[in-house]
Protein backbone atom coordinates (compact mmCIF):
# COMPACT_ATOMS: atom_id res chain seq x y z
CA UNK A 1 0.00 0.00 0.00
CA UNK A 2 2.78 2.42 0.94
CA UNK A 3 6.38 1.79 0.00
CA UNK A 4 9.45 3.95 0.58
CA UNK A 5 12.38 3.22 -1.74
CA UNK A 6 15.70 4.78 -0.70
CA UNK A 7 13.99 8.00 0.29
CA UNK A 8 16.26 10.84 1.42
CA UNK A 9 15.32 14.28 2.61
CA UNK A 10 17.52 16.89 4.22
CA UNK A 11 15.95 20.00 5.71
CA UNK A 12 19.21 21.21 7.28
CA UNK A 13 22.80 19.98 6.96
CA UNK A 14 22.91 16.57 8.66
CA UNK A 15 19.20 16.70 9.56
CA UNK A 16 16.54 14.72 7.77
CA UNK A 17 16.03 11.16 6.64
CA UNK A 18 18.49 8.91 4.81
CA UNK A 19 17.85 5.89 2.59
CA UNK A 20 14.51 5.06 4.11
CA UNK A 21 13.07 1.75 2.91
CA UNK A 22 9.87 0.27 4.30
CA UNK A 23 6.47 -0.95 3.24
CA UNK A 24 3.09 -0.89 4.90
CA UNK A 25 0.43 -3.40 3.93
CA UNK A 26 -3.30 -2.79 3.92
CA UNK A 27 -4.87 -3.11 7.36
CA UNK A 28 -1.56 -2.87 9.26
CA UNK A 29 -1.00 -0.73 12.33
CA UNK A 30 2.62 0.39 12.09
CA UNK A 31 4.34 2.42 14.75
CA UNK A 32 7.15 4.78 13.83
CA UNK A 33 9.25 5.28 16.95
CA UNK A 34 12.11 7.67 17.48
CA UNK A 35 13.25 10.59 19.57
CA UNK A 36 12.35 14.14 18.74
CA UNK A 37 14.08 15.24 15.54
CA UNK A 38 14.64 11.66 14.33
CA UNK A 39 12.61 12.28 11.19
CA UNK A 40 9.19 10.78 12.06
CA UNK A 41 7.23 13.83 11.01
CA UNK A 42 9.37 14.16 7.88
CA UNK A 43 8.28 10.66 6.82
CA UNK A 44 4.61 11.47 7.49
CA UNK A 45 4.86 14.79 5.65
CA UNK A 46 6.45 13.02 2.71
CA UNK A 47 3.48 10.68 2.53
CA UNK A 48 0.94 13.48 2.48
CA UNK A 49 3.14 15.27 -0.01
CA UNK A 50 3.98 18.32 2.02
CA UNK A 51 7.64 17.51 1.54
CA UNK A 52 9.28 16.29 -1.62
CA UNK A 53 12.13 13.79 -1.14
CA UNK A 54 15.55 14.83 -2.39
CA UNK A 55 15.98 11.35 -3.80
CA UNK A 56 14.23 7.98 -3.81
CA UNK A 57 10.62 7.12 -4.55
CA UNK A 58 7.42 6.87 -2.59
CA UNK A 59 4.71 4.53 -3.85
CA UNK A 60 1.20 5.04 -2.55
CA UNK A 61 -1.33 2.48 -3.70
CA UNK A 62 1.21 1.29 -6.29
CA UNK A 63 1.60 4.77 -7.80
CA UNK A 64 4.80 6.76 -7.69
CA UNK A 65 4.15 10.04 -5.94
CA UNK A 66 5.26 13.28 -7.44
CA UNK A 67 4.13 16.51 -5.89
CA UNK A 68 4.73 18.73 -8.87
CA UNK A 69 1.12 18.70 -10.06
CA UNK A 70 -0.91 20.51 -7.43
CA UNK A 71 -4.29 19.01 -8.30
CA UNK A 72 -2.84 15.50 -7.91
CA UNK A 73 -1.50 16.46 -4.49
CA UNK A 74 -4.92 17.75 -3.45
CA UNK A 75 -6.65 14.60 -4.70
CA UNK A 76 -4.19 12.38 -2.85
CA UNK A 77 -4.64 14.35 0.38
CA UNK A 78 -8.39 13.79 0.18
CA UNK A 79 -7.65 10.08 0.45
CA UNK A 80 -5.29 10.37 3.44
CA UNK A 81 -6.41 10.99 7.01
CA UNK A 82 -4.00 13.11 9.04
CA UNK A 83 -3.88 13.63 12.80
CA UNK A 84 -1.41 16.21 14.05
CA UNK A 85 0.35 16.32 17.46
CA UNK A 86 -1.88 19.26 18.42
CA UNK A 87 -5.49 18.68 17.42
CA UNK A 88 -5.30 21.70 15.09
CA UNK A 89 -9.04 22.19 15.02
CA UNK A 90 -10.12 25.55 13.65
CA UNK A 91 -10.91 27.64 16.72
CA UNK A 92 -13.69 29.68 15.17
CA UNK A 93 -15.67 26.68 13.92
CA UNK A 94 -17.84 24.24 15.79
CA UNK A 95 -16.81 20.60 16.11
CA UNK A 96 -19.45 19.74 13.49
CA UNK A 97 -17.96 22.31 11.08
CA UNK A 98 -14.43 21.10 11.74
CA UNK A 99 -15.32 17.48 11.05
CA UNK A 100 -17.38 18.48 8.00
CA UNK A 101 -14.50 20.41 6.40
CA UNK A 102 -12.84 17.48 4.54
CA UNK A 103 -16.24 16.44 3.17
CA UNK A 104 -16.96 19.97 1.97
CA UNK A 105 -13.57 20.07 0.27
CA UNK A 106 -14.25 16.70 -1.36
CA UNK A 107 -17.54 18.10 -2.67
CA UNK A 108 -20.01 15.98 -0.72
CA UNK A 109 -23.68 16.90 -0.97
CA UNK A 110 -25.16 18.58 2.09
CA UNK A 111 -27.35 15.66 3.15
CA UNK A 112 -24.59 13.09 2.73
CA UNK A 113 -22.21 15.38 4.58
CA UNK A 114 -24.56 15.69 7.58
CA UNK A 115 -24.99 11.94 7.64
CA UNK A 116 -21.26 11.21 7.59
CA UNK A 117 -20.37 13.88 10.15
CA UNK A 118 -23.03 12.74 12.59
CA UNK A 119 -21.87 9.15 12.12
CA UNK A 120 -18.25 10.10 12.79
CA UNK A 121 -19.16 12.16 15.84
CA UNK A 122 -21.27 9.30 17.18
CA UNK A 123 -18.40 6.82 16.72
CA UNK A 124 -16.19 9.01 18.88
CA UNK A 125 -18.87 9.86 21.41
CA UNK A 126 -18.93 13.52 20.42
CA UNK A 127 -22.52 13.76 19.22
CA UNK A 128 -23.40 16.05 22.15
CA UNK A 129 -20.44 18.28 21.42
CA UNK A 130 -21.29 18.93 17.76
CA UNK A 131 -22.16 22.58 18.30
CA UNK A 132 -19.35 23.27 20.78
CA UNK A 133 -16.21 25.14 19.86
CA UNK A 134 -12.79 23.48 20.31
CA UNK A 135 -11.93 25.66 23.29
CA UNK A 136 -14.97 24.25 25.10
CA UNK A 137 -13.66 20.68 24.74
CA UNK A 138 -11.09 18.79 26.83
CA UNK A 139 -7.79 17.94 25.16
CA UNK A 140 -8.91 14.32 24.83
CA UNK A 141 -12.17 15.34 23.17
CA UNK A 142 -10.26 17.65 20.85
CA UNK A 143 -7.98 14.79 19.84
CA UNK A 144 -10.98 12.54 19.20
CA UNK A 145 -12.56 15.29 17.09
CA UNK A 146 -9.29 15.56 15.13
CA UNK A 147 -9.34 11.79 14.49
CA UNK A 148 -13.01 11.99 13.49
CA UNK A 149 -12.10 14.74 11.01
CA UNK A 150 -9.30 12.60 9.60
CA UNK A 151 -11.53 9.57 9.18
CA UNK A 152 -14.75 11.17 7.97
CA UNK A 153 -13.73 10.97 4.30
CA UNK A 154 -12.94 7.23 4.72
CA UNK A 155 -9.25 7.51 3.84
CA UNK A 156 -7.21 4.47 2.83
CA UNK A 157 -4.66 5.26 5.56
CA UNK A 158 -4.56 7.23 8.79
CA UNK A 159 -1.33 9.07 9.51
CA UNK A 160 -1.20 9.96 13.18
CA UNK A 161 1.67 12.14 14.39
CA UNK A 162 1.99 11.75 18.17
CA UNK A 163 -1.72 10.98 18.60
CA UNK A 164 -1.35 10.85 22.39
CA UNK A 165 0.48 14.16 22.68
CA UNK A 166 -1.15 16.76 24.92
CA UNK A 167 -3.81 14.38 26.29
CA UNK A 168 -4.14 13.08 29.82
CA UNK A 169 -3.93 9.38 30.76
CA UNK A 170 -7.67 8.64 30.66
CA UNK A 171 -8.03 10.39 27.31
CA UNK A 172 -5.02 8.58 25.86
CA UNK A 173 -6.53 5.22 26.84
CA UNK A 174 -9.72 6.26 25.06
CA UNK A 175 -7.82 7.47 21.96
CA UNK A 176 -5.89 4.18 21.85
CA UNK A 177 -9.15 2.23 22.07
CA UNK A 178 -10.50 4.18 19.13
CA UNK A 179 -7.33 3.62 17.10
CA UNK A 180 -7.51 -0.11 17.86
CA UNK A 181 -11.18 -0.22 16.89
CA UNK A 182 -10.75 1.54 13.56
CA UNK A 183 -7.73 -0.62 12.77
CA UNK A 184 -9.75 -3.75 13.52
CA UNK A 185 -12.38 -2.41 11.11
CA UNK A 186 -9.71 -2.45 8.38
CA UNK A 187 -8.12 0.98 8.53
CA UNK A 188 -4.37 1.08 7.87
CA UNK A 189 -2.60 3.23 10.48
CA UNK A 190 0.86 4.69 10.58
CA UNK A 191 1.45 6.39 13.91
CA UNK A 192 4.57 8.30 14.89
CA UNK A 193 5.57 8.51 18.54
CA UNK A 194 8.57 8.85 20.80
CA UNK A 195 6.88 6.78 23.54
CA UNK A 196 6.00 3.30 22.20
CA UNK A 197 4.81 1.69 25.46
CA UNK A 198 1.12 2.64 25.30
CA UNK A 199 0.83 0.96 21.88
CA UNK A 200 2.02 -2.46 23.03
CA UNK A 201 -0.45 -5.09 21.94
CA UNK A 202 -2.10 -2.66 19.52
CA UNK A 203 0.58 -1.97 16.88
CA UNK A 204 1.45 -4.83 14.56
CA UNK A 205 4.92 -3.64 13.80
CA UNK A 206 7.38 -1.05 15.05
CA UNK A 207 9.88 0.82 12.90
CA UNK A 208 12.66 2.52 14.81
CA UNK A 209 14.03 5.76 13.52
CA UNK A 210 17.26 7.24 14.80
CA UNK A 211 19.18 10.15 13.30
CA UNK A 212 17.23 9.83 10.08
CA UNK A 213 17.87 6.12 9.55
CA UNK A 214 15.40 3.28 9.96
CA UNK A 215 15.69 -0.13 11.61
CA UNK A 216 13.29 -2.83 12.75
CA UNK A 217 15.11 -3.10 16.08
CA UNK A 218 15.51 -0.45 18.79
Amino acid sequence: MIRFLNVCFEHAPGKGIRNINFAIRRGEFVLLVGPTGAGKTTILRSIYLELRPKSGQILIEDKFQRNDKLTDVAEMRQKIGIVFPEARLLKDRTIFENVALPLQIAGFKRREMHLQVNKALFQFGLQDRAQSYPAELSSGEQKKAAIARALVVRPFILLADEPLANVDFDASVEVLEHLQRINSEGMTILAATHVPNPYQGIAHRILYLKNGSLSEKP
Binding site: E75, R77, R88, L90, D92, Q104, I105, A106
Partner: protein
Amino acid sequence: MTLNFIISEALNGLRKSSLHTFVSVAAVTLAVLFISTFCYTIFNLKEATDNLLEGLEVQAFIALSVLSEQHESIKTGLLALDDRWQVTYISREAAAQEFAAEFDPDLFNVLDENPLPASFKIQLPSAAMNPVYLQAVTENILALDGIDDVIYDRDLLEMLSAARQKAAAVGAVVALVVVLLAMGVTVNALRLKLYAQQEAFHMMQLLGATLRTIHTIIWMQGTILGLAGGILGTWLTGVIAWLLQLQLPSELAVETPFLPVFILIGVLMTTLCSFFAIRRFLTI
Protein backbone atom coordinates in the same frame (compact mmCIF):
# COMPACT_ATOMS: atom_id res chain seq x y z
CA MET B 1 -14.58 20.79 -5.50
CA THR B 2 -17.89 22.56 -5.66
CA LEU B 3 -18.78 26.17 -6.15
CA ASN B 4 -20.98 25.78 -3.08
CA PHE B 5 -17.92 25.14 -0.93
CA ILE B 6 -16.12 28.19 -2.29
CA ILE B 7 -19.12 30.47 -1.76
CA SER B 8 -19.92 29.10 1.69
CA GLU B 9 -16.26 29.35 2.78
CA ALA B 10 -16.01 32.90 1.45
CA LEU B 11 -19.11 33.94 3.38
CA ASN B 12 -18.08 31.88 6.40
CA GLY B 13 -14.69 33.59 6.51
CA LEU B 14 -16.33 37.00 6.39
CA ARG B 15 -18.80 36.07 9.10
CA LYS B 16 -16.29 34.40 11.41
CA SER B 17 -13.72 37.18 11.48
CA SER B 18 -16.30 39.93 11.71
CA LEU B 19 -13.89 42.54 13.10
CA HIS B 20 -11.55 42.15 10.12
CA THR B 21 -14.54 42.17 7.80
CA PHE B 22 -15.72 45.42 9.34
CA VAL B 23 -12.24 46.97 9.03
CA SER B 24 -11.95 45.82 5.41
CA VAL B 25 -15.38 47.17 4.44
CA ALA B 26 -14.55 50.45 6.21
CA ALA B 27 -11.25 50.64 4.30
CA VAL B 28 -12.94 50.04 0.94
CA THR B 29 -15.69 52.52 1.84
CA LEU B 30 -13.04 55.11 2.66
CA ALA B 31 -11.14 54.33 -0.53
CA VAL B 32 -14.27 54.67 -2.70
CA LEU B 33 -15.14 57.88 -0.87
CA PHE B 34 -11.64 59.28 -1.57
CA ILE B 35 -11.87 58.47 -5.26
CA SER B 36 -15.46 59.59 -5.80
CA THR B 37 -14.97 62.85 -3.89
CA PHE B 38 -11.87 63.59 -5.90
CA CYS B 39 -13.56 62.75 -9.23
CA TYR B 40 -16.63 64.85 -8.48
CA THR B 41 -14.53 67.77 -7.23
CA ILE B 42 -12.64 67.79 -10.53
CA PHE B 43 -15.84 67.24 -12.52
CA ASN B 44 -17.73 70.08 -10.82
CA LEU B 45 -14.77 72.46 -11.10
CA LYS B 46 -14.61 71.73 -14.80
CA GLU B 47 -18.37 72.28 -15.12
CA ALA B 48 -18.03 75.60 -13.28
CA THR B 49 -15.21 76.85 -15.54
CA ASP B 50 -17.13 75.62 -18.59
CA ASN B 51 -20.14 77.65 -17.46
CA LEU B 52 -17.97 80.74 -17.01
CA LEU B 53 -16.40 80.21 -20.42
CA GLU B 54 -19.79 79.71 -22.05
CA GLY B 55 -20.67 83.25 -20.93
CA LEU B 56 -17.55 84.58 -22.62
CA GLU B 57 -18.36 86.22 -25.94
CA VAL B 58 -16.33 87.63 -28.75
CA GLN B 59 -17.67 90.87 -30.20
CA ALA B 60 -16.72 91.89 -33.74
CA PHE B 61 -17.45 95.54 -34.60
CA ILE B 62 -18.37 96.53 -38.15
CA ALA B 63 -16.71 99.65 -39.55
CA LEU B 64 -19.08 102.64 -39.68
CA SER B 65 -18.28 103.05 -43.35
CA VAL B 66 -19.78 99.66 -44.23
CA LEU B 67 -23.32 99.84 -45.60
CA SER B 68 -26.00 97.94 -43.71
CA GLU B 69 -26.78 95.92 -46.87
CA GLN B 70 -23.29 94.45 -46.63
CA HIS B 71 -23.70 93.25 -43.01
CA GLU B 72 -25.30 89.94 -44.06
CA SER B 73 -22.34 89.01 -46.24
CA ILE B 74 -19.99 89.70 -43.28
CA LYS B 75 -22.10 87.32 -41.17
CA THR B 76 -21.76 84.68 -43.88
CA GLY B 77 -18.01 85.26 -43.80
CA LEU B 78 -17.95 84.76 -40.03
CA LEU B 79 -19.89 81.50 -40.18
CA ALA B 80 -17.57 80.26 -42.90
CA LEU B 81 -14.71 80.54 -40.42
CA ASP B 82 -16.33 78.04 -38.01
CA ASP B 83 -19.84 76.63 -38.35
CA ARG B 84 -20.00 75.83 -34.57
CA TRP B 85 -20.22 79.56 -33.77
CA GLN B 86 -23.50 81.17 -32.81
CA VAL B 87 -23.47 84.59 -34.42
CA THR B 88 -25.96 87.29 -33.34
CA TYR B 89 -26.23 90.59 -35.22
CA ILE B 90 -26.51 93.79 -33.13
CA SER B 91 -27.60 96.76 -35.23
CA ARG B 92 -26.44 100.32 -34.48
CA GLU B 93 -29.91 101.14 -33.13
CA ALA B 94 -30.01 98.09 -30.89
CA ALA B 95 -26.53 98.94 -29.61
CA ALA B 96 -27.64 102.48 -28.83
CA GLN B 97 -30.73 101.25 -27.02
CA GLU B 98 -28.68 98.81 -24.99
CA PHE B 99 -26.14 101.50 -24.13
CA ALA B 100 -28.83 103.99 -23.14
CA ALA B 101 -30.60 101.43 -21.00
CA GLU B 102 -27.41 100.51 -19.23
CA PHE B 103 -25.77 103.93 -18.79
CA ASP B 104 -27.76 107.10 -19.65
CA PRO B 105 -31.22 107.20 -21.26
CA ASP B 106 -30.75 110.88 -22.25
CA LEU B 107 -27.33 110.49 -23.86
CA PHE B 108 -28.59 110.19 -27.42
CA ASN B 109 -30.85 113.24 -26.99
CA VAL B 110 -27.68 115.27 -26.51
CA LEU B 111 -25.74 113.71 -29.41
CA ASP B 112 -26.74 114.49 -32.99
CA GLU B 113 -25.66 111.18 -34.32
CA ASN B 114 -25.43 107.57 -32.98
CA PRO B 115 -21.66 106.94 -32.68
CA LEU B 116 -22.00 103.22 -31.95
CA PRO B 117 -21.17 100.75 -34.71
CA ALA B 118 -23.15 97.60 -35.56
CA SER B 119 -21.56 94.41 -34.35
CA PHE B 120 -21.73 90.62 -34.18
CA LYS B 121 -21.76 88.78 -30.87
CA ILE B 122 -20.08 85.43 -31.37
CA GLN B 123 -20.67 82.57 -28.97
CA LEU B 124 -17.85 79.99 -29.21
CA PRO B 125 -18.05 76.39 -27.92
CA SER B 126 -16.57 76.31 -24.40
CA ALA B 127 -14.23 73.47 -25.33
CA ALA B 128 -12.57 75.76 -27.87
CA MET B 129 -12.00 78.53 -25.36
CA ASN B 130 -8.30 79.02 -24.89
CA PRO B 131 -6.04 82.02 -25.39
CA VAL B 132 -4.24 80.58 -28.41
CA TYR B 133 -7.46 79.73 -30.22
CA LEU B 134 -9.02 83.09 -29.36
CA GLN B 135 -5.95 84.91 -30.68
CA ALA B 136 -6.23 83.02 -33.97
CA VAL B 137 -9.99 83.66 -34.09
CA THR B 138 -9.41 87.40 -33.54
CA GLU B 139 -6.89 87.55 -36.37
CA ASN B 140 -9.19 85.63 -38.73
CA ILE B 141 -12.16 87.89 -37.96
CA LEU B 142 -10.10 91.05 -38.36
CA ALA B 143 -9.00 89.78 -41.75
CA LEU B 144 -12.61 89.89 -42.96
CA ASP B 145 -13.59 92.96 -44.99
CA GLY B 146 -15.65 95.45 -43.03
CA ILE B 147 -14.58 94.36 -39.50
CA ASP B 148 -13.07 97.23 -37.57
CA ASP B 149 -12.30 95.70 -34.19
CA VAL B 150 -12.67 92.46 -32.19
CA ILE B 151 -12.90 92.38 -28.40
CA TYR B 152 -13.33 89.73 -25.68
CA ASP B 153 -12.56 89.42 -21.99
CA ARG B 154 -8.94 88.38 -22.43
CA ASP B 155 -8.10 88.60 -18.70
CA LEU B 156 -10.91 86.26 -17.66
CA LEU B 157 -10.00 83.78 -20.39
CA GLU B 158 -6.33 83.77 -19.46
CA MET B 159 -7.14 83.40 -15.77
CA LEU B 160 -9.51 80.48 -16.37
CA SER B 161 -7.14 78.79 -18.81
CA ALA B 162 -4.25 79.03 -16.36
CA ALA B 163 -6.47 77.72 -13.55
CA ARG B 164 -7.54 74.76 -15.70
CA GLN B 165 -3.98 73.87 -16.60
CA LYS B 166 -2.92 74.04 -12.97
CA ALA B 167 -5.93 71.95 -11.90
CA ALA B 168 -5.10 69.32 -14.53
CA ALA B 169 -1.48 69.07 -13.40
CA VAL B 170 -2.27 69.06 -9.68
CA GLY B 171 -5.27 66.79 -10.30
CA ALA B 172 -3.14 64.14 -12.03
CA VAL B 173 -0.74 64.02 -9.09
CA VAL B 174 -3.55 64.05 -6.50
CA ALA B 175 -5.44 61.35 -8.47
CA LEU B 176 -2.37 59.13 -8.40
CA VAL B 177 -1.87 59.72 -4.69
CA VAL B 178 -5.57 59.13 -3.95
CA VAL B 179 -5.66 55.86 -5.91
CA LEU B 180 -2.41 54.64 -4.34
CA LEU B 181 -3.62 55.64 -0.89
CA ALA B 182 -6.97 53.93 -1.44
CA MET B 183 -5.28 50.77 -2.69
CA GLY B 184 -2.78 50.85 0.15
CA VAL B 185 -5.57 51.06 2.72
CA THR B 186 -7.48 48.24 1.01
CA VAL B 187 -4.45 45.95 0.61
CA ASN B 188 -3.56 46.47 4.25
CA ALA B 189 -7.06 45.58 5.39
CA LEU B 190 -7.03 42.47 3.19
CA ARG B 191 -3.61 41.52 4.53
CA LEU B 192 -4.94 41.55 8.11
CA LYS B 193 -7.92 39.51 7.01
CA LEU B 194 -5.66 37.02 5.24
CA TYR B 195 -3.45 36.59 8.29
CA ALA B 196 -6.53 35.95 10.41
CA GLN B 197 -7.56 33.11 8.09
CA GLN B 198 -4.10 31.73 7.31
CA GLU B 199 -4.48 28.75 9.67
CA ALA B 200 -7.85 27.82 8.16
CA PHE B 201 -6.47 28.02 4.63
CA HIS B 202 -3.46 25.89 5.56
CA MET B 203 -5.71 23.28 7.12
CA MET B 204 -7.93 23.26 4.03
CA GLN B 205 -4.86 22.68 1.91
CA LEU B 206 -3.75 19.76 4.10
CA LEU B 207 -7.23 18.29 3.86
CA GLY B 208 -7.14 18.33 0.07
CA ALA B 209 -8.16 21.79 -1.11
CA THR B 210 -6.18 23.00 -4.11
CA LEU B 211 -4.33 26.28 -3.99
CA ARG B 212 -6.61 27.51 -6.76
CA THR B 213 -9.67 26.85 -4.59
CA ILE B 214 -8.15 28.78 -1.71
CA HIS B 215 -7.22 31.66 -4.00
CA THR B 216 -10.78 31.69 -5.35
CA ILE B 217 -12.17 31.88 -1.81
CA ILE B 218 -9.92 34.86 -1.01
CA TRP B 219 -10.72 36.49 -4.32
CA MET B 220 -14.45 36.01 -3.72
CA GLN B 221 -14.16 37.48 -0.22
CA GLY B 222 -12.40 40.48 -1.74
CA THR B 223 -15.16 40.90 -4.29
CA ILE B 224 -17.88 40.72 -1.62
CA LEU B 225 -15.98 43.22 0.55
CA GLY B 226 -15.52 45.46 -2.50
CA LEU B 227 -19.22 45.30 -3.29
CA ALA B 228 -20.21 46.15 0.28
CA GLY B 229 -17.58 48.92 0.57
CA GLY B 230 -18.43 50.20 -2.90
CA ILE B 231 -22.15 50.47 -2.11
CA LEU B 232 -21.46 52.17 1.22
CA GLY B 233 -18.86 54.55 -0.22
CA THR B 234 -21.12 55.46 -3.14
CA TRP B 235 -24.07 56.01 -0.85
CA LEU B 236 -21.96 58.26 1.41
CA THR B 237 -20.78 60.22 -1.64
CA GLY B 238 -24.41 60.79 -2.62
CA VAL B 239 -25.27 61.92 0.91
CA ILE B 240 -22.29 64.32 1.05
CA ALA B 241 -23.22 65.79 -2.35
CA TRP B 242 -26.81 66.24 -1.18
CA LEU B 243 -25.73 67.93 2.07
CA LEU B 244 -23.37 70.18 0.14
CA GLN B 245 -26.13 71.12 -2.27
CA LEU B 246 -28.29 72.20 0.68
CA GLN B 247 -25.58 74.67 1.70
CA LEU B 248 -25.07 76.13 -1.76
CA PRO B 249 -27.28 78.59 -3.70
CA SER B 250 -29.54 76.82 -6.19
CA GLU B 251 -27.64 78.24 -9.20
CA LEU B 252 -24.60 76.22 -8.13
CA ALA B 253 -25.58 72.62 -8.74
CA VAL B 254 -23.40 69.83 -7.32
CA GLU B 255 -23.52 67.20 -10.03
CA THR B 256 -22.81 63.52 -9.38
CA PRO B 257 -23.31 61.71 -12.69
CA PHE B 258 -22.74 57.94 -13.08
CA LEU B 259 -22.72 57.44 -9.30
CA PRO B 260 -23.13 53.61 -9.48
CA VAL B 261 -19.84 53.43 -11.41
CA PHE B 262 -18.09 53.86 -8.05
CA ILE B 263 -19.61 50.58 -6.81
CA LEU B 264 -17.89 48.93 -9.75
CA ILE B 265 -14.67 50.79 -8.96
CA GLY B 266 -14.87 49.47 -5.37
CA VAL B 267 -15.31 45.90 -6.63
CA LEU B 268 -12.55 46.17 -9.23
CA MET B 269 -10.13 47.79 -6.82
CA THR B 270 -10.70 45.17 -4.12
CA THR B 271 -10.46 42.32 -6.60
CA LEU B 272 -7.15 43.72 -7.81
CA CYS B 273 -5.96 44.18 -4.22
CA SER B 274 -7.01 40.57 -3.45
CA PHE B 275 -4.80 39.26 -6.23
CA PHE B 276 -1.94 41.35 -4.90
CA ALA B 277 -2.55 40.22 -1.29
CA ILE B 278 -2.64 36.56 -2.40
CA ARG B 279 0.69 36.87 -4.19
CA ARG B 280 2.33 38.93 -1.49
CA PHE B 281 0.95 37.74 1.86
CA LEU B 282 -0.46 34.21 1.53
CA THR B 283 2.23 31.92 2.90
CA ILE B 284 0.68 28.47 2.73
